[in-house]
């Protein structure tokens, strides 16, 4: 538990460091993966498939590997 939330935080910090529009980027990642990042919190149970999909979407949208 917590890996999904960690990933959310890393995504948000990457968006912030790249100076991107957080709403647009998170929306784009959400649409690609079917995961609403705003609903992911520390108690959200980990899901290996969702994590994998999120990492692939991040790589595609932000160009970084998390």
């Amino acid at each position: 538990m917590g890996q999904l939330f960690d990933l959310r935080q890393k995504i948000e910090s990457t968006i912030a460091s790249q100076g991107l529009d957080a709403v647009k980027v998170k929306g784009s990642i959400g649409l690609k993966t079917g995961v609403l990042l705003n609903l992911v919190n520390a108690s959200t149970p980990d899901d290996a498939t969702k994590i994998e999909r999120l990492r692939a979407a991040v790589k595609e949208v932000l160009g970084v590997s998390l």
């Binding site: 939330f5 935080q9 998170k26 929306g27 609903l39 919190n41 520390a42 108690s43």
Partner: protein, 402 residues
């Protein structure tokens, strides 16, 4: 799987439809042009046939009246009755010269009752021409019927209009004592120039070689200072031509099989010029087909006009393609694609956490109805998310800092 955008599909349909339409119009112009050319050829053929017939009849009447005047000349009759060839030639010469100069009469023959030439005024003192049988239908016909035999006949030198009548001692049309026969004629080649002056088309006169003799033809061509064209075609020989181009009048078909109304022979393209060709048979006094009149019409202006119309259609079609493509793409962009992009952007933002920005319905059209539906869906979705976030915050563990 490769997917094609709606824009691409729309453009492809426009271009395809206009290409088919443009091609169809071009084809219609082509077919219409061909019909026009065919009609021009048919009209020219008909006009040439009627003109030739009318002029031939007029020439025949002129020959007949000239023959009657000669028949009434007592000096000529007496010389012929006395079998004094020299006196007959001397008395006939000034009359022949005048007829030749004024009326184009080039043939004047005295023919004995046994159908042998007595005097041929074309070359009156050539002994080779004395006593030779005049083998022509009009002579045989006049001998048989003892009256006029007028019409076209193929002589040893080619096609000529001839008027033949018995010459009686009385000098009248009917008599008791036959002196011989008087034959007047004119080459029908001269008619071609007259018809050309009326119509501005070109004409060629073809004679069937089987009715002619090669050596006679060669002699005639030499006398006229023209090259011998006997070997140009296996079946026919060009007896007259108003055009300087012999090739465009060439015809290798069977003249005797031609229908009386004539035949359109299609279009000949030569040196950037286009000619509609047609031909009709010429019958002699016995109604046998002995030659053909070739009609040549320059249809280059009609061709150029059709070509110009086709170019205009292609240009207009191309212009229409560009205009319609740009217009439709612009219209689709404004009415559909931009608004779909706005909905996509808003959906992305909602998923990204922007729950507050509503979608403004831009119109009442189909996309507007979809915008209204999407906005209702967005409101429901945002409501559900709000509820879930509220629920999750109530269940949030004490160390969660987000």
């Amino acid at each position: 799987m490769t997917t094609l955008s709606i824009k691409f599909k729309v453009i492809a349909v426009i271009v395809g439809a206009l290409a088919i339409g443009g091609g169809g119009l071009t084809r219609i112009v082509h077919v219409s042009h061909q019909a026009t050319v065919a009609e021009i050829a048919q009209n020219s053929l008909r006009t040439a046939r009627i003109s030739f017939s009318t002029l031939s009849k007029a020439q025949e009447r002129q020959l007949a009246s000239s023959t009657e005047l000669l028949m009434a000349n007592k000096e000529l009759r007496d010389a012929y009755a006395a079998r004094d060839r020299e006196k007959l030639i001397t008395a006939t010469q000034p009359l022949y010269d005048r007829l030749k100069k004024q009326y184009g009469v080039t043939i004047l023959n005295y023919i004995d009752p046994d159908e042998k030439r007595y005097v041929n005024m074309t070359d009156p003192r050539d002994p080779k021409l004395f006593g030779k049988k005049a083998v022509r239908f009009n002579v045989q016909d006049s001998v048989k019927t003892k009256t006029w035999s007028n019409g076209i006949a193929l002589g040893r030198l080619g096609l000529a209009l001839r008027a033949t009548h018995p010459l009686w001692t009385s000098g009248t049309l009917k008599g008791d004592q036959l002196l011989g026969y008087l034959e007047l004629g004119s080459e029908i080649g001269g008619l071609l120039d007259t018809i050309k002056q009326q119509s501005h088309n070109d004409y060629g006169l073809l004679a069937l070689k089987k009715h002619l003799k090669a050596e006679d033809w060669a002699a005639q061509r030499a006398a006229l200072k023209l090259p011998n064209n006997w070997a140009d075609d296996p079946n026919t020989v060009l007896a007259g031509n108003t055009s300087s181009n012999k090739e465009i009048l060439r015809y290798s078909g069977d003249i005797e099989a031609l229908p009386d109304d004539g035949l359109a022979l299609g279009v000949l393209d030569q040196r950037a010029k286009h000619f509609a060709r047609s031909v009709f048979p010429i019958r002699d006094v016995s109604s046998a087909k002995i030659g053909a009149m070739f009609v040549l019409v320059d249809v280059t202006p009609q061709y150029e006009q059709a070509k110009a119309i086709q170019q205009k259609i292609l240009l207009a079609t191309g212009g229409l393609m560009v205009f319609l493509t740009l217009s439709l793409v612009l219209l689709l962009n404004q009415l559909v694609f931009k608004r779909l992009a706005r909905i996509t952007e808003l959906a992305t933002n909602v998923v990204g956490g922007d729950f507050k920005t509503p979608l403004q319905v831009s119109s009442d059209d189909e996309i507007g109805q979809f915008e209204a539906l999407f906005e209702q869906f967005r409101a429901v979705f945002v409501g559900v998310l709000d509820d879930m976030e509220r629920l999750m915050s109530q269940q949030k563990p004490p160390d969660d800092q987000s």
